[in-house]
């Protein structure tokens, strides 16, 4: 579309070039085509689908073309999944961010074996959720090493139920999400000038005061961003909810419901509705967190320059 504009008169071409529109922008076209054809078009198509409910849906829930939305909000089996997803994703994201801060603070210093430790922390990113799930089932299952050790040491009488429930999914979310949060937080921390803390120390501030008055305010925007990104990861939990969770009970998350409508019931319209609602719920949380962040702190972030 930009190519067309440039074939006009020379003066128009000149005026456009002055504003930064010239043939070099054509390099953007392939990227835009991919984004429009594979992201924008399907997304709008999906929105269109949500208001074309199947006859069965209209019959059961009423509401005419909005039957899918009526079904989403009034079918407790579907609607409860919103709360279930939040109960998993919010604590998981919060834990990952809050646990990363002290770890990143300690690992900021140089010490022997730091590289090894960092690699160990990055490892789970490559494992992926499916393998983590398989490992958790074996390691933390009824006959797994954890229960065996605890039983042998006499701490418990009965094996603990660590998988196939809420706890199992939480473990999996922490194992995959924590390294990610840690990487982000440590890159934010490394952008905070150490001389600020040294100055505070010279002036007699204790470690808590230094953390509370210097590091925390500078880190706050980074914390918000990390929380958002970790939340997005935890929110779209799908394989682990099915594999190490209780897919029809306490870990019946939204993505599972969306997939059930898509793959098992072949109701693409309802599947798109749930998927869109997922996006909407996530957006609300993201906007809330970022809004809170801009309320608390305005200014440059501590990222690496």
């Amino acid at each position: 579309m930009r190519g067309g504009r440039q074939r006009a008169t020379a003066s128009l071409r000149h005026r456009l070039a002055e504003r930064g529109v010239d043939p070099a922008l054509l390099l953007l076209v392939p990227g835009l085509v991919v984004a429009l054809a594979l992201f924008v078009y399907p997304f709008s198509y999906g929105i269109g689908l949500t208001i074309q409910p199947t006859a069965a849906m209209q019959e059961q829930w009423g509401g005419g073309i909005f039957a899918n939305y009526v079904a989403f909000f009034s079918d407790p089996f579907v609607f409860d999944s919103v709360g279930i997803t939040m109960r998993l994703a919010l604590p998981a994201a919060l834990f990952n961010v809050l646990a990363s801060v002290p770890v990143a603070m300690v690992l900021r210093h140089r010490f022997r074996g730091k590289r090894l430790l960092t690699s160990l922390l990055v490892l789970p990113i490559t494992l992926g959720t499916v393998l983590t799930a398989q490992g958790l089932l074996i390691f933390a299952g009824r006959q797994g090493w954890i229960n065996r050790t605890l039983l042998a040491s006499g701490l418990i009488e009965e094996p603990l139920r660590l998988v196939n429930n809420y706890l199992g999914v939480m473990f999996s979310l922490v194992i995959t999400g924590f390294p990610f949060a840690f990487l982000l937080i440590s890159s934010y921390l490394s952008g905070i000038d150490p001389s600020l803390e040294q100055a505070a120390k010279t002036l007699g501030a204790g470690w808590w005061q230094r953390f509370r008055r210097i590091v925390l305010p500078l880190l706050a925007p980074g914390l918000a961003t990390t929380f958002v990104l970790t939340f997005v990861l935890a929110f779209s939990v799908f394989p682990s909810a099915r594999l190490v969770g209780d897919a029809m009970g306490e870990t019946r998350v939204m993505s599972l419901m969306a997939f059930r409508a898509f793959g098992e019931q072949n109701d693409y319209a309802m599947a798109s509705t749930i998927a869109l609602m997922m996006g909407a719920v996530e957006l609300i949380v993201v906007v809330a967190v970022l809004g809170l962040r801009s309320l608390l702190y305005r200014g440059t972030t501590g990222g690496k320059g």
Binding site: L32, F39, G46, V130, F139, Y188, S195, L243, S255
Partner: protein, 284 residues
């Protein structure tokens, strides 16, 4: 950072011990998971004991035949390579424009490239898969490659833009003064300078594509399943899933592939730095 290393007290504070305890617990879990899968995959039978009774490598050959892993691995590698090549070819020029030019609508375009990275894959994956099926592309390799492009192209753009920004534009200006055309500037000047960044982005896209589950799962079928999807299908197959050891063997093959790629990736790129660069683009 260097200065703060000199003033460490000799005795660690309680908070430090606390952190180390947490880290140890995390490490134990992580290693436990990994070792459990590896041991299980080599075990003959493992029910009610500390270790399986007897070791065997039969599980690997069995899993290889049972799940047609030759084909699955071929599909995984083929899809990953195609996605890498296409997303680099499409993403790098776009990143160049976004790094160097200022034009009306730039912010909107940046947002368009950012959205797929920020949204849960299922949100756009389900409408996308519906479109794929309605075009008759469902369960084909084409569809698997296409859906994988959606997060990969923006990922390349987001990682390459800061990388290109740090290359001095004066070098390009000098080349243009000497009469080079845009194509020549790209092939003779920028390409050699961009090689490390392109390699890093390519390896990260490769790792992501091999590991990406949700989008591939929605459009793939027999003959176009990647390794992760095959493992998932094995675990959830009707009738309680396949034998656990077979799944473990498949998982070990998967992890080994991933680890090799990760080791190669870490030779080219420092992960902390890359995340920081990506993050800065997201932030503004």
């Amino acid at each position: 950072m260097a200065a703060s290393t000199l003033e460490r007290p000799l005795a660690a504070r309680p908070s430090t011990w606390f952190v180390w305890a947490g880290m140890t617990a995390f490490g134990v879990f992580l290693l436990g998971i990994l070792v459990a899968v590896v041991v299980d995959s080599f075990g003959r039978q493992w029910f009610d004991t500390w270790l399986p009774d007897g070791l065997t490598t039969e599980r690997y050959t069995e899993a290889w035949d049972r799940f047609a892993l030759g084909e699955v691995v071929g599909v995984t590698v083929g899809v990953a390579v195609l996605v890498v090549v296409i997303s680099i070819a499409v993403g790098v020029p776009a990143a160049y424009v976004l790094a160097r030019r200022d034009f009306p609508g730039k912010r909107a375009i940046m947002l368009l490239f950012l959205l797929p990275v920020l949204m849960p894959p299922i949100t756009y994956g389900i409408p996308l898969a519906t479109v794929m099926y309605s075009f008759g592309l469902g369960r084909t390799l084409t569809a698997v490659v296409l859906v994988n492009l959606v997060p990969s192209v923006p990922f390349v753009i987001l990682t390459m833009t800061p990388f290109i920004e740090q290359i001095n534009p004066a070098i390009e200006s000098a080349a243009r003064m000497c009469g080079a055309r845009t194509w020549q500037v790209f092939t003779r000047i920028l390409a050699p300078l961009l090689v490390p960044g392109i390699l890093a982005a390519a390896i990260l896209v490769l790792v992501r594509t091999v590991g990406l589950f949700e989008l591939t799962f929605l459009v793939s079928g027999p003959g176009s399943d990647t390794l992760v999807v095959a493992i998932y299908r094995g675990m959830t197959a009707a009738g309680g899933g396949e034998a656990r050891q077979l799944i473990s063997a498949m998982s070990v093959i998967y992890t080994a592939t991933m680890l090799v790629m990760l080791v190669v990736a870490l030779r080219f790129v420092n992960p902390t730095q890359l995340v920081a660069q990506v993050k800065e683009t997201r932030d503004d």
